[in-house]
């Protein structure tokens, strides 16, 4: 049934365009992008707070485009983007009184809300939140609730809204949807959301134990032959479009000052990782440690942004 509250397109539905004869075109779009970074090298993060003055706290986060995307932007040849880079806007409203109908809560009640813009991903998203967006909201809430000192605001609510303006790809676009069986891009999105929300919460002057930041590590296999000898490698902050297959990935929300994880989401088969000799960790531990390292990297950006936010609020006072 058509949604009467929105402007609807043609009733018969539309189809996304299909691009033809890529092999003949000289645009280079048919080549899978290659990772140009070192395995432990993170993408740069642009993070700025206070851009949305109507909110109590706000932040805007952007991942640096991968080398292939940067090249495609500066010298456009093909209409098919090789990969995409996360762009998130986050607002925090509150603390504000809970609605009258709500029961007494001795703690600050968090509401997290993650929504993709319809144009955020390669496939057009709907206007109503789908299961993956709700799932992200739950992950994010878990990550933040561990960091916020909630009992300082009894009977209060805090609304955290994240708008994903551009999402990360789940796989290289040329791969069939079955070749990567999971939504790996979602994990990058979650990591970005955690860092952005943390900055916005600090910008709203909500007391936290520490700045919590998100990081992703993954086991990737770039070997085209699917033999058993292909050894997956551990990489931080992967762009799924740059890899043939991702076996397993882990995202954590991490507080460096306490060395604690408030949220962990690991999925995939992590048993085949090849660690360096003498490394006694099991592979999932290595994966979690990798994600923590990535989160530490994000934390340096985060603390700079928060320092900026504090400097601004002092200047205003």
């Amino acid at each position: 049934m058509a949604d009467r509250r929105r402007v609807n397109g043609p009733p018969g539905g539309t189809r996304p365009p299909v691009f033809a004869s890529l092999q003949e075109s000289t645009t280079g779009a048919a080549q899978r992008a290659q990772r140009q970074r070192q395995p432990a090298e993170l993408r740069k993060i642009f993070l700025k707070t206070g851009l949305i003055p109507t909110a109590s706290g706000s932040s805007y986060l952007e991942f640096e485009p991968s080398a292939s995307l940067a090249a495609a932007r500066s010298n456009p040849k093909s209409l098919i983007p090789p990969s995409s880079a996360l762009k998130v806007a986050c607002t925090v409203h509150g603390p504000k009184p809970l609605p009258r109908s709500a029961a007494f809560s001795p703690n600050l009640v968090l509401t997290t809300h993650v929504k993709y813009a319809p144009f955020a991903a390669r496939k057009r998203r709907g206007h109503i939140r789908d299961a993956s967006e709700r799932d992200l909201g739950v992950h994010l809430e878990t990550a933040l609730r561990g960091a916020i000192i909630a009992e300082r605001w009894p009977k209060s609510g805090l609304d955290i809204t994240l708008t994903i303006i551009e999402a990360e790809d789940d796989r290289w676009w040329g791969d069939a949807p079955d070749s990567h069986d999971a939504s790996w891009g979602m994990m990058n999105v979650l990591a970005g959301c955690i860092t952005a929300a943390s900055a916005a919460i600090a910008d709203a002057h909500i007391d936290c134990l520490d700045l919590v930041s998100g990081g992703v590590a993954a086991l990737v296999s770039d070997d085209s032959s699917k033999s058993a000898s292909s050894v997956p490698r551990l990489m931080l902050d992967v762009d799924p479009a740059e890899h043939r297959s991702i076996l397993s990935a882990c995202v954590v929300a991490y507080m460096p000052a306490r060395d604690e994880i408030t949220e962990i989401w690991l999925k995939g088969d992590s048993s085949k990782a090849a660690l360096e000799k003498g490394d006694v960790r099991s592979s999932h531990e290595a994966l979690i440690d990798g994600a923590v390292d990535a989160a530490r990297g994000a934390n340096t950006v985060l603390s700079e942004a928060v320092t900026e936010s504090i400097a601004r609020s002092i200047a205003q006072a």
Partner: protein, 389 residues
């Protein structure tokens, strides 16, 4: 300067309130104090935000930064920010329930008579763009852009009305040409020969033109999604400017009907892609009126003949109301009456594309005339900004 204005207001006892608190407690008096400084002081009449009455906020635009769109733009007007992304998808004519041969041939007639008269083309555009819903603008305010909007809730009344205003403006300005959205197919001659051999003498027309007539196989549908990221008053101007900038940035891939696969295929080569050719550059400017005594208009007894005299007298006397261009959220909260003027300038001639006024009594025809001039000035400013982005 704000504090001095506040302190000089006679209605306020000499309480030493910081201006920001005064602004919250007595918003109406605060803005009034700014707009009508005492005659003794030689302060100019400015708004609480430091702008002159007909001054717009600093505007910036940036286009083409989003990866997964055919065209995109970010427009900031002061603290109001809108992100617009245009996504093109295909509507095959076989998916259109009402599509029949007759409409197809009508479209054809319209196409060939293009040179003859532009009116036919315009009507044709309306038929296709409007009737087939080829433009789908939707505005979203559930982004946490302002405290009042619940994220995840269905579109608020404001969001619904803004979406429809943008849709109707897109249709009435006929900004997007239907011909840019059509995907034609010229059946090969071979087929027509077979056809002719099979049923000779049936299709005299095609024989005369020396081939089968081209037919429309599909349309591009433009999904125009606008996310208001930050809302501090005047969402319509920001949203419309972002739509305009995004459409100017939009590139549609070259598409053709592939008879073998019975589908439309596109070329990903960027040099084959075509920009939309838009009709004109309609720029919208919004205003609100601020009245010294907001209820005066409603209280006064309206006597048809006396009314004109009275308003004349009012004008000559102390100015009781101000028309504020590009209101911010604070000013919008203090006013009832809104005016929206959309103008375009062609060959130095100002064309009023749309004019809308509602919510009060204060603005008269002289004012509207002035507002058109202000809007024309704004047009030049916006054109410069949009050309740069």
């Amino acid at each position: 300067m704000a504090s001095s204005a506040a302190a000089s207001n006679p209605t306020i006892p000499s309480l030493n309130l910081p201006p920001s608190q005064f602004a919250r407690l007595q918003p109406h008096a605060y803005l009034l104090a700014h707009l009508s400084p005492p005659a003794a002081s030689d302060q100019p009449s400015v708004r609480a935000n430091g702008r002159a009455t007909s001054q717009f906020r600093v505007t910036s635009a940036n286009a083409g930064s989003l990866t997964h769109t055919n065209g995109s733009a970010v427009v900031r007007i002061g603290d109001t920010a809108a992100v617009c992304g245009v996504r093109a998808e295909l509507l095959h004519t076989e998916d259109i329930a009402s599509w029949s041969v007759s409409t197809a041939s009508e479209a054809e007639a319209g196409n060939t008579s293009q040179k003859g008269g532009s009116k036919t083309e315009d009507e044709e555009d309306r038929d296709h763009v409007q009737d087939l819903n080829l433009l789908v603008p939707n505005i979203s305010l559930s982004t946490g852009c302002a405290p009042g909007f619940t994220p995840g809730a269905p579109p608020s009344t404001l969001a619904q009305s803004l979406s429809h205003e943008i849709l109707s403006l897109l249709h009435t300005t006929r900004l997007v040409k239907a011909d840019d959205l059509r995907i034609w197919y010229q059946p090969p001659n071979l087929e027509s020969e077979e056809f002719r051999n099979a049923g000779e003498g049936m299709d005299v027309d095609s024989e005369q033109t020396g081939g089968p007539e081209p037919e429309i196989k599909a349309f591009w549908v433009l999904y125009i999604d606008i996310m208001i990221i930050s809302l501090a008053g005047n969402p319509f101007d920001a949203a419309w400017a972002s739509v305009l900038a995004a459409l100017r940035d939009t590139k549609l891939p070259k598409a053709w009907w592939d008879a073998d696969n019975e589908t439309v295929l596109c070329s990903d080569n960027i040099s084959d892609a075509q920009k939309l050719s838009l009709r004109g550059l309609p720029v919208s400017s919004s205003f609100c009126t601020f009245e010294a005594d907001a209820a005066a208009g409603w209280r006064s007894v309206v006597i048809p003949n006396a009314d004109e005299l009275k308003s004349q007298a009012q004008k000559q006397g102390s100015q009781q109301r101000w028309i504020l261009a590009d209101p911010d959220g604070y000013e919008e909260g203090l006013s009832q009456e809104r005016v929206c003027v959309v103008v375009d300038i062609e060959d130095g001639k100002t064309v009023i594309v749309k004019m809308e006024k509602h919510g009060g009594w204060a603005v008269d025809s002289d004012d509207l005339r002035q507002l058109v001039d202000v809007s024309a000035k704004r047009w030049h400013e916006m054109k410069r900004i949009l050309d740069q982005c």
